[in-house]
């Protein structure tokens, strides 16, 4: 299958700090990739590189067959903070990208009804259609995050970039949203890259999980998840192979973490 995103020997430095180096990664069109790694490994740098928000210091970032040099407008993004605009209703928030992205921004009037229907359909999938005219402060954290997910998909991006989108939610809401995301993805089959520190989330949602090394970050291992059939559900968590994969990933990441110099002191010993 054709790769929508390909990173070839990419490095990125902020001043003297090297955030990522020798980073190589391929994401086939229509697949779901997850990136996990120890904290501070350059996962967020990866987001900025792939979306073209930051130019690579070295190597090349190829998106949709072209080496990119600026923002690529085939992406949608969602972050840990839903960042909804408080003066807009849910529906107006979801439709914000259409007012910005080309060519839709010039077709707002002509295709008003179509855009509205598209937004309502997305809201229906995530179960927010009854809240279209509510303001963000009237929504719970999980509902705000669903609206943010809709906003990232309204312009039908071919690439969805997610930066720990469920990180601030409670466990129940988070697992609920995993299924919401899986449903949308299976319906629309865009390419997705999910940056997360939740290993179960990565294995549950993705086709391939990329493990990044400590700073400067690079991909040290890629784990396939084809053996877990889709749609995944509560059964998946019970599969022994799933839990083994979680344990494997955990030990991978532990071996990548910065060594911590603090040894637990034995009782009686002076600290």
């Amino acid at each position: 299958m054709k790769n929508l995103v390909e990173l070839i020997d990419v490095s990125l430095s902020y001043g003297k700090t090297l955030a990522v180096s020798n980073l190589a990664m391929k994401v086939p069109e229509g697949s779901f990739a997850a990136v996990v790694g120890p904290s501070g490994c350059g996962k967020s740098s990866l987001m900025k590189l792939v979306t073209g928000l930051m130019p690579a210091t070295g190597g090349s970032v190829v998106v949709d067959g072209h080496e990119i040099s600026g923002p690529v407008n085939i992406v949608g993004m969602a972050f840990q903070n839903p960042n909804l605009l408080p003066w807009r209703t849910t529906l107006e928030n979801v439709m914000l990208p259409l007012e910005v992205v080309r060519p839709e921004r010039h077709q707002l009037r002509a295709r008003k009804q179509e855009f509205r229907d598209r937004a309502m359909e997305l809201l229906r999938i995530v179960g927010l259609d009854a809240f279209a005219d509510h303001y963000p402060w009237q929504l719970s954290g999980g509902m705000q995050q669903r609206a943010s997910l809709c906003r990232s998909l309204i312009h039908q991006p071919r690439l969805l970039m997610l930066d720990e989108p469920f990180g601030a939610l409670d466990a129940f809401t988070r697992e609920e949203l995993w299924d919401v995301l899986q449903t949308i993805w299976m319906k629309q089959r865009f390419t997705a890259i999910l940056v997360t520190h939740d290993l179960r989330e990565a294995l549950y949602l993705a086709d391939e999980v990329h493990v990044m090394s400590n700073r400067p970050g690079r991909v040290v291992r890629t784990v396939g998840t084809v053996q877990f059939s889709r749609p995944r559900g509560e059964r998946t968590f019970l599969e022994p192979a799933f839990n083994e994969s979680v344990m494997d990933l955990r030990s991978d990441i532990r071996s990548q973490r910065m060594p911590i110099d603090v040894k637990p002191s034995a009782p009686g010993e002076k600290a």
């Binding site: 900025k48 979306t51 992406v75 972050f79 903070n81």
Partner: protein, 257 residues
């Protein structure tokens, strides 16, 4: 009961203060040219109603004109400073320097340029009141969440798009909050200018009255300025509440979880 007390609090306290003032003047036999009692001030207000009206309408006019210029200029300046790094780094030091000049010192220069009268008052009101507006609008624009900026930039949004779609609506609560402060500063500006160089306005009235030892009339002028300031403040507080209710509802907007 508690709520009723809270509502009537400002009135009760003002009445109590006036009573203490009145009684102190009576019991300690304070001469009226040192501190006139509230009843004497009220008397002066009533006796000189037309003169006071003549002067205060002028002050109100120059203040409002100066303030209107300040809103337009301050908002534009704030948008420029808040949305462009170059504008910020080059303009901010200048603005701070300008703001730290006592405006009283500029009035004589204005008189040389424009003569005695309304123009220096309007300009002084303007100079005193645009700064808080500019700073507040700039703050609203400069504090756009970086993630949201990324979302829009990745869609191909220009800096102008971000300012229009997010920056300006976001800075509205900051703007309206600053209007309340600025209108009272505008009064300070026009009264300063009138005190120094004018033949009409509350400031002029007070200067003349104190030269003639009509101290109750001086205090009457003060009362009129205070009342005008409070009324304007209240008008803008109401407008603020109407226009940007979304900013004060549910304090947790934008925070995940």
């Amino acid at each position: 009961m508690n709520n009723a007390l809270e509502r009537s609090g400002p009135v009760l306290l003002s009445v109590a203060l006036l009573l203490v003032w009145e009684l102190s003047c009576k019991t300690f036999e304070v001469p009226p040219f040192v501190l006139p009692s509230p009843s004497l001030i009220a008397e002066a207000l009533a006796e000189n109603f037309y003169i006071i009206w003549f002067h205060s309408s002028q002050t109100l006019l120059t203040t409002v004109i100066g303030f209107a210029f300040a809103v337009a200029f301050g908002a534009l300046l704030g948008i420029a400073v808040g949305s462009s790094r170059v504008a910020y780094t080059s303009l901010y030091p200048l603005l701070v320097a300008f703001n730290s000049i006592p405006k009283v010192a500029i009035v004589p220069i204005l008189v040389v340029w424009f003569g005695i009268g309304s123009v220096p008052a309007v300009i002084t009101a303007f100079m005193l009141s645009f700064f808080p507006i500019a700073v507040n609008v700039a703050t609203g624009l400069a504090t756009i969440e970086p993630d949201l900026r990324d979302v829009l930039r990745s869609l191909g949004a220009s800096q102008l798009d971000i300012v229009r779609k997010v920056g300006i609506p976001r800075s509205m609560p900051y703007l309206f909050a600053s209007l309340k402060i600025s209108i009272t500063l505008a009064f300070v500006g026009s009264v300063i200018s009138e005190t120094l160089a004018s033949n009409r306005g509350i400031g002029t009235l007070m200067t003349q009255a104190s030269a003639n030892f009509r101290i109750p009339l001086v205090f009457a002028g003060l009362v009129v300025i205070a009342v005008m300031g409070v009324v304007m403040y209240m008008i803008f507080a109401v407008i603020e509440k109407r226009m940007t209710g979304w900013a004060t509802r549910g304090a947790t907007f934008g925070i995940g979880g």
